[in-house]
Amino acid sequence: MRTAAVLACIGCAVAFVHAQVTPRAVGRTVQVVPVPELNSSADDFVTGFARGGREAYLTSSRAGNRQRLYRVSYEQGRWGELERLGGELSDATHVGAATLTIDGNLMVFAAFQHELGGQGRTDLYIAERRGKRWTVRNAGAGVNSSYWDSQPCLSADGELLIFASDRPGGAGGTDLWMSRRQGGGWSAPMPLSRLNTAADEMAPVLAPDGRTLYFASNRDGNFDIFVSRMQQDGTFGRPEKLAAPVNTSADEFFFVPIPGEDAALLSRATAAGDLDVFRVVPNPEPPEPVLTVQGTVLDARSNEPLGGAVITITDLRTRRKLAELYSDEETGQYYVALPSGRSYSITASREGYLFYSERFDVGRDLRQNPLTKDILLTPIEGGRTRLLVFFDFDKAELKEESFPELDRLVELLRAYPNLRVLIEGHTDDVGTDEYNDRLSQRRADAVKQYLVQNGIDARRIETKGWGRRKPLVRGTTEEARAQNRRVEIQLLP
């Protein structure tokens, strides 16, 4: 009896852990319905979203039987008008299968016989958006081959590229290949051996969590949707075929989760032979939840949008830089998708402005999704900002994770050699004034010491420990105290 109870508990634990790792739509009725706003009598398939899910990118051959890219807005469940992308995004016999970073500023698409030339057959092309203008270039021989290279899929942060190719070296037919961003280019593509078979694998879609990969394969006859999840070692696990009604006797391609919704789009061959877009609700194999952080970078004084600001997101636990993106040239907007249950730092910088850093935590509860976080950058002269530096409790020694922030300050002072800086230390309201004054002064001095050690003239640096006398916010909650424990800098002319 006791043994049975123990086994039962273990079973519960396994089931619970499994449910946490691969959440499933157990017991829910999955509906697959066409999306008439996107469909025509020709091929139509959505391959990706951008701008936090507010833009979808459709490939359609509705016009002259040539595959072309269309952008369509998606707001609160409603589809806007289709906007055909022109210019270099259409200078080819066929263009399509676009994938974008979440901010929509970096696109990788496939084109057959593009006017820019290529490596042979269908190639991948990279397009970067500055304002309304796209600059397009071939992805190069490092990624493309003389074979069919198509259907790219970028991770939300743009660091990982998965695509389909019939080049040699795979398992046969078309296979999935993966490349990682490496400096200014991409690493040599490697086949996803655990996913590829002698049949065709194609239509990869990497969910915003960067770990859940959907793809299509005809290993069982017609094309069906499979899902595989990235494991701790960075490889993809054993793929599982999605059940009906997602998969049917027709061909299914491009299973694309809709950001922020428990739903997905897929493209399915109709009785007429063309591909149409269908909506799947709920997503029976949802990715891990992610938080979409969006906001606008603004001039702190004029409140005007600031384009071209570099925004860096760092995982504070792993200290890994998760994303580096730019605010939109026109609107100053930015978007980034972040896995839940972690702490991050977000830093924005722009020439002529003092950089801005902030720490924020993303809990498991994503009811507030997307999270709007506007960033105010102050002009260099007279600018003031809080430094994202870390100390152990009751200590004045800088923790290692403070160094990237301090390096930014070093760079700034090097770039503006006439600039002087006042470093101000602050504490919370715990302890005596005398004690807090000393601690805040020591911490400000520690920052000064780091700057001097990195070549900044000590005469350009002043320090001041304010103790608890200048709280940022009032209150005695832990949250208020955390905000008040800080080091700020003020730039002096």
Binding site: S41, A42, D43, F45, T59, S61, G64, N65, R66, Q67, T93, H94, V95, G96, A97, F109, A110, A111, F112, R121, T122, W148, S150, Q151, D166, T174, F253, A271, A272, G273, D274, L275
Partner: protein
């Protein structure tokens, strides 16, 4: 069996230019693609509904009333088989050229109860009712060319010239049967009276008759087809076509109406302006090969 397998696999092997979705290109002959310009092969079979008419003019204003059995030759209609192999070559978005080579049988007939002089066993002659029937059957090799225009991705129109080459001879049968209530008949070569008269004839273009069948005839064909996709590269196409061709006969026939000969004497007549129009209803299986 082997050719059936090959035929079944044909659509799977037919692909067009590659694109971003398909490395081997889309299985071609997608009916929804208005601008595609593939080459398609079709095998069609169906029926031809035929309608023939001509005028029969009695010379010298003498016309028997009520009409004699010759009157049934003024018109005729019938249904006969048709089959063809066709190729469609796309030349521009929505436009294509179609060529076909086929077999078409044209068959028409007519029946009617008419009046003819009839002789009884006692030598008396009186007009009686005669059930009359004729059938004409001609086999043609049909060669056509047409311009195809897609009204919609599914619906197309074709218009173009067509040529019919007569295969063999035209076969004509006639049957006349006197009213069963009458005891008269038609005198045969042996002097006996026959209640039923049957005539069979095969006439070719080179036979020494006054107006032989045409060896070939030209005309125009107007068609409308509808594509029903069965699978990629394979479609079912019902098609309705109208044919307007020159006469199946060379010239007009000068003859005499003997049916009232004993009482009215032989009446010179002319069979004039024979026309034969057809409407084809076919169902085709079309394969895209490029």
């Amino acid at each position: 069996m082997r050719w059936r397998c090959a035929l079944a696999l044909l659509p799977l092997l037919l692909y067009a230019q590659e694109d971003v979705l398909r490395p081997r290109g889309a299985p071609v002959f997608e009916p929804w693609t208005e601008a595609r310009t593939p080459i398609r092969l079709g095998l069609e079979g169906g029926i031809s509904w035929n309608s023939a008419s001509q005028s029969i003019n009695y010379y010298a204003g003498v016309q028997p009333t009520p009409p004699t059995p010759m009157d049934i030759f003024k018109s005729g209609s019938g249904i006969s088989p048709a089959a063809a192999a066709a190729v469609d070559i796309g030349i521009a978005p929505k436009l294509g050229l179609q060529f076909k080579l086929g077999y078409e049988q044209k068959k028409w007939s007519n029946s009617g109860t008419k009046i003819a002089d009839c002789e009884d066993p006692f030598g008396n002659v009186s007009p009686v009712s005669v059930q009359s029937h004729y059938t004409v059957q001609a086999n043609y090799l049909a060669i056509g060319a047409a311009l195809r225009y897609d009204l919609t991705p599914q619906l197309w129109l074709t218009v173009g010239p067509v040529y019919h080459r007569l295969l063999g001879k035209v076969r004509q049968t006639e049957r006349y049967e006197v009213d069963p209530n009458s005891d008269c008949g038609f005198p045969g070569p042996d002097g006996n009276l026959y209640r039923v008269l049957e005539i069979e004839a095969e006439i070719g273009p080179d036979d020494p008759v006054s107006a032989p069948p045409s060896g070939g005839r030209f005309g125009a064909e107007l068609g409308i087809g509808y594509r029903i996709p069965l699978s990629p590269g394979l479609e079912l196409v019902p098609r309705l076509s109208g044919q307007l061709l020159s006469s199946p006969r060379n010239g007009d026939v000068d003859t005499r109406d003997w049916w009232r000969g004993p009482t009215l004497g032989p009446l010179p007549v002319q069979w004039k302006g024979l026309s034969l129009y057809s409407v084809l209803l076919t169902v085709g299986v079309w394969f895209t090969i490029q």
